[in-house]
Symmetry: C2
Subunit: 190 residues, 2 copies
DNA sequence: TGTACATCAGTGAACGCGCGTTCACTGATGTAC
DNA sequence: TGTACATCAGTGAACGCGCGTTCACTGATGTAC
């Protein structure tokens, strides 16, 4: 656990503590009062930095999505192009999900709803768009735009579904199995 | 809405009303008190039929899983064998999920946790096992047992992931797109 | 340099909410003799 | 046939909980003159 908040940027401290809480949970349930308690601060203090709880959760989800995006981008650059790189990035997605279950759930639960109240309603959509286009960019060159979109959605669905099945306890996490299952998607051959 | 409960089997009425509530929600949040209110019955009355809220939710999840299983089995028998049947069953899974978002979420959220308190803790595991083996049975004959398991997991992950992305509002529901994406998994060719 | 004032991040008390669960109870139904 | 009794599905009141949010407030910090 972090040290309780003393002085400084409470907004940053709240996000940090929130991320830490999420890192130690399976479910993304996060209470504003509980978080304030962790910070050693009154619940109302948080209202100086977030208009309401939703905004706090949105900020956490956005931060999480950015981390995921960075992680994926890094994996993509390290793995190089071609099929090997593509498969590696897919495995990386599942691994990250397994390591950040509550955060992944929070991300996907927050993006769906339209949040016109948030100061930057498009931020998360933007971040997701990057994630998606990152996937699409790894498709074989000879594909048409439509084919790329479908193939990207296929790949995203596969790794996301596999991750969710593992997070929900349907499938035990086995890196070798993940690798094997991900590599069964191969757009070159077919 | 159903008519409020008058007399008869309250347990059955509660399950029915619960299923109806879930059918009209996006999220699987279901309160014991709220359900009792819908039934026109005191909250405590439900304790005559369920030991606690968890048992109620488990019963609903089990019922939902059975419905899903029946739906999948029916689709499998109608679609016939071979690749066409396999792909059709996959599309059916996604369609059912889109039509029963809260119920699907409830199912997957309940199965994970070990519920030793429940009178039949293995019931859901059993039902899921059937779902899984139903998928595995559709794999090409020439596959080894290991290959079948991996291929079944791949197929399950794909449709489940696609369904979740749609339920979470990441991807708009487009039957033609679903069909296209599902059919990109083809274990014959590769 | 000192004083008046605005700003603003924090506080604690309070509101109202819905929840799961417990408790002692009532009243109808069925059964034994 | 009538009476005593057990069973059991329901009731309403109450407990304690944690939550998100509001309100009027305090006290430190910085700035203008």
């Amino acid at each position: 656990m972090n040290a309780p908040y003393h002085h400084g940027d409470l907004r940053a401290a709240a996000l940090e503590m929130g991320m830490e809480r999420l890192a130690n949970q399976e479910q993304p349930d996060l209470g504003l009062r509980a978080l304030a308690r962790d910070l050693g601060v009154s619940a109302t203090a948080l209202y100086r930095h977030f208009p309401n709880k939703d905004a706090l959760l949105d900020a956490l989800a956005l931060e999480g999505l950015n981390r995921l995006g960075r992680h994926q981008a890094e994996a993509a650059s390290q793995a190089g192009g071609g099929y090997e790189g593509f498969a590696e990035v897919g495995v990386t997605y599942v691994t990250w999900a397994v390591e950040n279950p509550a955060l992944l759930r929070l991300i996907y639960s927050r993006v769906g709803q339209v949040d016109l109240a948030t100061d930057d309603p498009t931020a998360m959509g933007e971040a997701f768009h990057q994630l998606r286009s990152g996937i699409a960019a790894m498709m074989p060159d000879e594909m048409s735009t439509d084919e790329r979109a479908a193939a990207a959605l296929h790949a995203w669905s596969l790794v996301h579904g596999l991750a969710m099945l593992i997070l929900d306890g349907q499938v035990s996490y086995d890196p070798a199995m993940v690798r094997k299952v991900v590599r069964m998607t191969d757009f070159r051959a077919c």
